[in-house]
């Protein structure tokens, strides 16, 4: 495949390859080549997205067929069972659990988004306030997101906090390097304000490949120094 150029044949060839990929006529090897390019070429990825959305009206052709109940049971087993079998997780067992690694979605712990002026209208308030807060709750979820919008800087900060539960809980952030015991990096502020100041002794230990995990703990953090509640999110750090 060649890089897209603003004019001529290569561009049309790219359009065709993007269309062939979405139609599904390509070989396995060719599909992997297209996917590798999708990851690095935004213009090409936009072509694929566009074919995807153009051709998706053919999806109406597919019949609805209810799958047998065993399929969902198998999916849940694959995603959740290992975690469930360890209600009071021994740290080793949980960290080493393949299902937890495979199954948990990678959650970014604090996303900072710069908001365009048009989106500022989402937060309807008198123009006097400079900082606004919204709580984003999902039913049955162990965490809420607290979104803070700073009108002056145009920045929206989204921080997870433990969802309101019978008892107040905290979210605690852990750092795991390889098979070493998890190190507590601190408790996420309940208010969604502020960030975690990583103790200087631990700063050098956060590198690409380090794993960050979040567990639900009693208010104020784990009483034992290791995670006692369920791990609700975990992900590996990579260069950004």
């Amino acid at each position: 495949m060649t890089a897209p150029t603003p004019e001529g044949r290569d561009f049309r060839r790219d359009e065709v390859i993007a269309g062939e990929y979405v139609l599904g006529v390509l070989s396995a090897d060719d599909r992997r080549k297209v996917e590798a390019r999708l990851a690095s070429d935004r213009n090409f990825a936009a072509m694929v997205d566009r074919w995807q959305s153009n051709l998706s009206s053919f999806d109406d052709t597919y019949d609805l067929v209810v799958p047998p109940p065993r399929t969902f049971t198998a999916i849940e087993r694959r995603l959740f069972e290992t975690a469930q079998l360890e209600p009071a997780p021994s740290r080793r067992g949980l960290w080493n659990s393949l299902a937890v690694w495979r199954g948990l979605a990678l959650v970014s712990l604090a996303a900072v988004a710069v908001m365009g002026a048009s989106m500022a209208g989402l937060f309807k308030v008198p123009s006097t306030g400079t900082s606004l807060v919204a709580e984003l709750a999902g039913k049955g979820s162990a965490i809420d997101l607290v979104a803070q919008f700073d009108r002056a800087s145009g920045r929206l900060k989204v921080t997870p906090v433990a969802a309101r539960q019978a008892e107040q809980k905290s979210l605690e952030l852990w750092l795991i390097n390889g098979s070493n015991p998890a190190i507590s990096l601190g408790v996420l502020p309940q208010s969604g304000e502020g960030e975690i100041a990583v103790p200087s002794a631990f700063q050098s230990r956060i590198s690409a490949g380090s794993v960050l995990a979040v567990s639900v703990e009693p208010l104020g953090g784990s009483p034992t120094g290791s995670a006692t509640g369920p791990i609700i999110a975990l992900g590996k750090a990579r260069s950004h």
């Binding site: 062939e20 599904g24 090897d29 959305s53 998706s56 495979r102 039913k139 997101l145």
Partner: protein, 179 residues
């Protein structure tokens, strides 16, 4: 089934909400299972594929962005890709990307086609502008996940003819939708 509901469920799934995942499965699995059955043509394989698909949905829910795609088509694309990967592994197809593409014919203005623009849902109108058998080949390629060779066999034309049909049809569709 409303797309906004599916998008909302996906948002909750991306936060690890298992209830939302179960509800998403309840609402969307008949469609995705239908896709697997149609492409794989085998119930056992379709069930296995459906497992893989929902494991991926659980893992990738956070990558769904509402501006980009309709939620149901995003899910359908994951399902089609999984099913097509399986069938290509089972019945290998010839590689074509590295060979020369014969794209002669409708001489689209290259400057014009160089801009990736959004357009409305006009694929159906544009499909009608294609010759009937070519439109049928495009549709069957998508819906059944057929390879070039299988399409050539089904339409009783040489392989190269089928490649030319589909590639020119893709360019005509693109050109039509940008009009």
């Amino acid at each position: 089934m409303i797309d906004e509901d599916i998008a909302g469920l996906l948002g909750r799934v991306s936060l690890g909400d298992r209830e939302a995942f179960a509800e998403l499965y309840r609402q969307t699995s008949p469609k995705l299972f239908g896709i697997c059955l149609r492409i794989l043509g085998n119930r056992g394989e379709a069930e296995e594929a459906l497992q893989e698909i929902y494991v991926k949905i659980w893992q990738r829910a956070g990558r769904f962005s509402q501006g980009q795609a309709a939620a149901m088509s995003w899910l359908a694309a994951i399902a089609r890709n999984q099913a097509i990967d399986l069938i290509r592994a089972r019945k290998p197809a010839a590689n074509v990307i590295d060979e020369a593409y014969d794209l002669a014919d409708p001489a689209a203005d290259p400057e014009k086609s160089a801009v990736v623009k959004a357009e409305g849902r006009r694929i159906d109108a544009c499909m009608e502008e294609l010759e009937k058998d070519r439109a049928e080949a495009v549709r069957r390629a998508y819906v059944e996940g057929l390879s070039y060779q299988e399409l050539a066999d089904n339409f009783a034309v040489p392989l190269n003819t089928m490649r030319t049909w589909l590639r020119r049809s893709l360019l005509k569709l693109r050109e039509c939708m940008e009009r």
